[in-house]
Homo-oligomer: 219 residues x 2
């Protein structure tokens, strides 16, 4: 939502791909949760292709969220892992297909990683493994022969904690000075789209916020 | 198959969990591909629990195989990624649940990784991301608080190419002196089960074969 607002304010046309409509976007492509991975891919490519009518895009940005915990002895951990896989890995793979089909030369593809998943995450095992899969996909898509257009820039953003209404609700009393504001995420996405502040393609870029200031760190 | 034979020859009782029956095993638990991840987990835990009748196991060894290629511009890459995820990640997560429920103190859990997935794999994107997820799961399961029993040893095995009939069929004329024999995999699994040649829990152990000799390397 914050990302859409930032791009709209900067004069971009935005296609939102989501399970619900985003009123701020120029076009909406809706995804049905009843569809499987391959069906979602077909649905999204068809919808985005129709909205573009032969045009290309400057950026494909995946900010699909979601978090769920669980260790191996928790009865629901596989159920949660399944949800994390669908939210992070399905959406990232489909973003890769969109970039192969519709991204312009030198365009930007951003996928949603997570800094904690660079190591073991015993209390949130499904979340960690899904994000680790996204991290490796960033490296694959950035490699020669991935099928992406020439000079495409593929980056993972690895937040620690985002300052979202959901996180404020579930972590009351937390030190929010280390949380990354969504407006800052929007600002970075816009800069990267405009070929500013880009890291080398294939980088995993952590967003580290301290004292209300956010800096980017390649990991 | 080779692993079952090795353990049987060494006097172990073996429960095979697979989509087909393994005649060499003492017990078979069959998995239905029509079931989803959570259903498979329930089916496998019920079957293994019934075979054990209150006993514990010394090792949970996942040698689920499978390979499929695909770059982002290939029409079938997401379909292949879905298959790779189910073969490697579903089976590894369920192995984690089995270990939490049935592994004895100090027991062994082995999950199937792949050395190429330590970097980008642009020509086999679904395979690479699934194996990267398994690698991170190894680290999670080896961490304090994962729900596994005390002193459990969790290791990933990362073959380069295994000397299987399938690989011989699909890569005729390849230099098989760098392929790892299945009997060597069985030998290593048995050694680790017997607390010999173990690496530190959480390690990803590459199997590197050259001139017909296989050595283990932590990556």
């Amino acid at each position: 939502m914050a990302v859409v607002d930032t791009f709209r304010a900067a004069g971009y046309k935005v296609i939102s791909v989501d399970i619900v409509e985003n009123a701020a976007a120029d076009f909406n492509v809706l995804v049905s949760l009843d569809n499987n991975w391959v069906e979602q891919e077909a649905q999204v490519c068809q919808g985005v292709g129709a909205a573009l009518g032969g045009d290309k895009v400057e950026a494909v940005i995946n900010v699909a969220g979601g978090w769920a915990g669980g260790k191996a002895s928790d009865p629901d951990w596989v159920k949660n892992a399944d949800l994390m896989w669908k939210q992070s890995v399905w959406s990232s793979a489909i973003s890769g297909t969109l970039a192969a089909k519709f991204l312009s030369s030198g365009g930007l593809l951003v996928l949603p990683g997570a800094k904690p998943a660079l190591a073991g995450t015993p209390g949130m095992m499904g979340y960690g493994l899904a994000k680790a899969a996204v991290h490796q996909l960033v490296k694959s898509l950035a490699s020669d022969g991935s099928g992406l257009p020439d000079l495409a820039c593929v980056l993972g953003i690895l937040p620690v904690t985002l300052d979202t209404p959901m996180n404020r609700k579930f972590m009351p009393g937390a030190d929010t000075s280390t949380w990354t504001p969504l407006a800052e995420v929007g600002r970075i996405m816009l800069a990267w789209t405009q070929h500013r502040e880009r890291f080398q393609s294939g980088s995993l870029v952590a967003l580290v916020t301290a004292g209300g200031q956010t800096r980017m760190e390649a990991c």
